[in-house]
Amino acid sequence: MKYLGLIRANLGRNKLRGALTGGAIMLAVVLVCLLLTMPAGLNAILDYVSNNTRISVHNKGGLVYQMPSSFTRKVRQVDGVAAAMAQTWFGGAFEEAGRVTFPNFAVEPEQVAAVYPDYPIAPEQLADFQRYRDGAIVGRQVMHKYGWKIGDRITLRSTVWPVNLDLRIVGEIASERAPMLWLSREYLDQALQAAGRSGLGTVGIIWVRASDPNRVNAIMRQIDEMSRNSDSETACETEKSFMSNFFGSLQGFVTIILIVTGLVALCIVFIAANTASMGVRERAGEIAVLKAIGFNRRVIFGTLLAEAVALSAVAGGAGVLAAIGLTRALRVFAGWSDTLGPLGSFIVTAPVIVQGVFLSLFVGMLAGVVPSYGAARKSVVQTLHEVF
């Protein structure tokens, strides 16, 4: 601790260089944190769903194939099923470009609370969702992205069904992990009939919540058994498995992200090491004097290394804070990215913060250790001869 004054004074020796190096480290930490939010977002979703007892029931042939709506009722009668909710992809586009920019599904409002008790939705909003045929519940990120608020009316133009639906927003899923919109299946069914179609007789996914985690496997087996030899054989899987498969294509992208993150870290080590080396070289005379007046190798090594680590730690801390601020801004202004999917959650989780801080400490250690050791290693007489 008594060397803190010396370390602090030396850190302020060349303010411009310190600021530039610190800025480079800070930017690198910001970038690394942003990159790490992507796999972290995916992992957070998978970790979150791994703790629940939800089961996805869908056509064995794949998600593009449907199941009869009546199958939902059969599923509800299976022993151990607490609730089941039919869900159909609506594929509604809000923006003029006509692209689907956030997932939106037709669901059964009266089943939401029972199937998704873990979703933070105000009870009165759930009640409104059931009360209003044209009601919609929207995830917080989507609300932020479009600046919507409860009571707003919007129109979604389906890219799947031949209907446009006027919706009133009656509730919000107050979570960053549900960037989607739910509307009423009954409303879609009536709209299809009004358009001269036969109505919504099919379902894409039936979400089931088991009453007991120990019954999940048995329920899945029983449901699949029920559909065997029918036109729509089912494939049940846990929500975690469903999400993993659904986002499986992103794993390659995640690998690339991690490689880029590693390269960024390596680059910043070189930059910081160069700065540390220059600092030590410029101060060779002072280091020689310190050695001459009795500073031993350990103290010389420790103080020089502490300088490098302190600079990196301060810059890294600032980088983590900047990353948190930036991701908040991204969530507010950019919202859900249909390209990035869960990788675009941009949530700086605790592990990301820890990794950012450790990265900065690691950069400082690695950058400082070689020049510090080099300066400490030389004998005092050798150092004095070199500089005087």
Binding site: A9, K291, G294, F388
Partner: protein, 260 residues
């Protein structure tokens, strides 16, 4: 001769048959050859001689910065030959105050913090370090410059700060390498007078390497070296007289005694 650490009037520094040679490129350089001398406690002595005479090498040996190739160096009762690099560093911190030609202050520390640097190696707390540094600066006449940074001090003032740094640990020995080499005549005389004062008022043993003939008016003894050898007898007298005359002194008889 009993190298008992300068107690009971015995010498503080005893050097016996010291050689120092090192390899520079393909050359085997003999910087010192069979040098023996002793310096009493409380004496102010100068090592003098032309460039390459070995006086700085001898100073490095006396201050524990370097170790001899052969022979023995005792300072304050400690045989320095046996000490490791880190042991020597510890020993220097406790027993030696060093003064350099170019002051070599830390530019980012003020005068007080520069002086307090060697005290970081002690167990003193911050308040004690601060108080001792201020005392040392008062001794060298810079009590008004405590918070000044080196760039705002003149050369003479910087050297005074360096002297304060050298005495702040109350060492047995003060070692100065060309302390007036970068100063004008007025400041050089003031620094030499200050070193003399440390000897007179505080009983410090001061060993100095210098080319400055003015130094002869301040030191008790001068050791003359040439080509790695310590000059003796008539050779030493001649060297002393030459320096004395170069300094504008009177007869050779008025010059300080050339010691062995």
């Amino acid at each position: 001769m009993n190298p008992d650490g300068g107690r009971n009037g015995a010498p503080l520094i005893v050097i016996r048959h010291v050689r120092r040679h090192y390899i520079r490129g393909v050359d085997d350089v003999h910087a010192l050859d069979n040098v023996s001398l002793s310096i009493s406690t409380g004496h102010f002595v100068a090592f003098m001689g032309p460039s390459g005479s070995g006086k700085s090498t001898l100073l490095n040996l006396v201050s524990g910065i370097d170790r001899p190739s052969d022979g023995e160096v005792f300072v304050a009762g400690q045989l320095l030959n046996d000490l490791t690099e880190d042991d020597l560093a510890r020993w220097r911190a406790r027993h030696v105050g060093l003064i350099f030609q170019f002051f070599n202050l830390i530019p980012v520390l003020n005068a007080r913090d520069n002086v307090a640097l060697p005290l970081l190696l002690t167990h003193l707390n911050k308040a004690e370090r601060r108080q001792r540094a201020e005392t040392a600066l008062r001794i060298v006449g810079l009590e008004e410059r405590l918070d000044h940074f080196p760039r705002t001090l003149s050369g003479g003032e910087q050297q005074r700060v360096a002297i304060a740094r050298a005495i702040v640990t109350d060492p047995d020995l003060i070692v100065a390498d060309e302390p007036t080499g970068d100063l004008d005549a007025r400041n050089a005389e003031a620094i030499l007078a200050l070193l003399r004062q440390l000897k007179n008022d505080f009983g410090k043993t001061v060993v100095m390497v210098t080319h400055d003939p003015r130094a002869l008016r301040f030191v008790d003894d001068a050791f003359h070296l040439d080509k790695g050898l310590l000059l003796e007898g008539e050779d030493a007298e001649r060297a002393a007289a030459a320096i004395h005359l170069a300094a504008g002194g009177g007869t050779a008889a008025a010059a300080p005694r050339a010691s062995r």
